[in-house]
């Protein structure tokens, strides 16, 4: 088993008295993909954001192993102290339309993270930009164009390139393939897997689509009402779910085989 990269212990977050994340603990190993699944309102996005300190958790410990192999605590850092760490943890968002600034060219979008972190000079940044662009399989002519000139799948490639140009260790994908057509989704999933292998990335993969999660993840956390109700390897959770809530989720997936009729479990009779 690979070394752990991220350790979360007893994380809490509430908004105006409503608990969004309730005593969540988990570990992610290097080069692993951890899926976080659950319905809307289950706290999966809040959990991912607390881990990255995009929002501040109320309680709990988040430890992260940096490039140099040292453990650092994320939960008690000030915003200024977090800036250098942000290089090592990046995010790919759901909506490829609203997550790219429409007034910046692709060149500017991809160069901006390097400028913020003071990496390289103009010419070396140009090399980096061209390099990452090739990795996400976009043409060089893309650089002078604006986001509106691209399709949803191409925009998602730009979003991935922006996250990876800093060579992060941890990438949080928050519903990163949910807005895409199935054929484009397949391309982006393949790309994420290729890049993971090439750069040794660790993914926190937040998603509601269980078939995507089954395909891409090594382990899963199942969240319900802010709590982790079940966690395990993909095989364990899909083949032998222990909790009623997990069984409810799995029973609701419509199979593309017309001979496997949909027969969802009843939430009320399970008392959920």
């Amino acid at each position: 088993m690979a070394d752990p990269l991220l350790e979360v212990t007893g994380l809490y977050k509430s908004f105006d008295g409503a608990t969004a994340v309730d005593n969540v603990s988990f570990t992610v190993s290097e080069s692993e993909t951890l899926g976080i699944v659950g319905e809307s309102g289950s706290g999966k996005t809040t959990l991912a954001r607390c881990v990255l300190r995009a929002i501040d958790p109320d309680q709990g410990i988040v430890r992260f192993r940096t490039y140099d192999g040292e453990w650092t605590k994320l939960h008690d850092k000030t915003d200024d102290e977090l800036i250098p760490l942000r290089q090592q943890m990046q995010m790919v968002f759901q909506d490829p339309f609203s997550s790219l600034n429409p007034r910046m060219t692709v060149q500017e979008i991809l160069e901006e993270p390097l400028i913020i972190h003071g990496i390289g000079d103009r010419s070396s940044r140009r090399v980096e930009v061209l390099d990452i662009l090739a990795k996400v399989q976009l043409d060089q002519d893309s650089l002078t164009r604006y986001p509106h000139a691209f399709s949803g799948g191409q925009r998602q490639r730009i979003g991935i390139a922006r996250a990876l140009i800093l060579r992060p260790k941890l990438v949080v994908c928050d519903e990163s393939v949910s807005a895409l057509d199935v054929s484009v989704q397949a391309q982006i999933i393949n790309l994420l897997e290729d890049l993971q292998e090439e750069f040794g990335l660790t993914y926190l993969f937040v998603a509601h689509d269980l078939s995507v999660v089954h395909h891409i993840c090594d382990r899963i956390l199942v969240m319900h009402q802010g709590r982790v109700v079940e966690q395990g390897t993909v095989q364990e959770v899909f083949e032998n779910p222990k909790e009623d809530y997990t069984r409810l989720l799995l029973s609701a997936i419509p199979s593309p085989d017309p001979d496997e009729p949909l027969n969802p479990l009843d939430r009320k009779s399970l008392g959920l």
Binding site: S183, V184, Q187, I189, N190, D209, L210, I216, V234
Partner: protein
Amino acid sequence: MVDNLLEIRDLAVEFGTDIGTTYALREVSFDVPRGKITAIVGESGSGKSVTANCIMRLIQSPGRITGGQIHFSPNDVTAYDIAALPDKDPRLLDLRGGSVSMVFQEPMTALSPVYTVGNQVAEAILCHRKVSKEEAFEEAADMLRRVGIDDVGRRIHQYPFEFSGGMRQRVVIAMALVCHPQLLICDEPTTALDVTIQAEILTLIRDLQKDLNNSVLFITHDLGVVAQMADQVVVMYQGRVLEVGSVRQVLKTPVHPYTRGLLAAIPGLATKGERLATIASVVGDADLITPHPLVTLADGRQVSLPSDQLAALELANG
């Protein structure tokens, strides 16, 4: 009596823009049989929603229907061609929300935030039938009960924001069904919902269709949903119909390379650890752009393929 409620033939729609004409639909032909669920499946831009909007005659400038017919044969009135009706024809008022109604993807945008749900369901009745307001509200309450809203006496006076996403979609379904339409068009009705809520709404639509024995045109990009809902499937790509057949024909033994590509791209239990097929990897260098006529095969399905591939298929099928 014709057993097709709707027969669409060679339907063409164009959108004129500053930079040229976009052909949104080209020679679209398929039937919607009575008492069955027909699914249109395709990716964004394939023309599924434009087709639905044509049936309701909701295509607005710069778009226009430039050719083809939509033969509509309702039970109670003489059959007519929806595509040929003038814009002010009174039959269009009966059609929209009366004999044909629609359930949209986003229940929050389909409902008005400033009227109670009872008001909105009853309004549909009051628009189409001469009944008193009290009767309309009573019918609205019955319909809301039927779509699974609990405590209707209280809920009927509430506003859409007081309902969850799944409950709102139930209200929209009640609104669509309250005038007993012969055709219910569902345009991605569960795409915005959680998988558990999706399962509930799909079950509801299927059960109500069995009870009311109406026709349903179900538009989706999700082949899992198609498999669970449809009797018949229409596969669209870039404004054209590529394959039409029963749900088993299309999903279990697809003949068009594009349909095979769509199916292969779904991450499934079998694909763990493997690369997903993309449309490009399945279709290869097959040309999807050149139009070919829809040809009916021996097993009854229709497919649009170049003649050499058709010949190979028919040989294989004997």
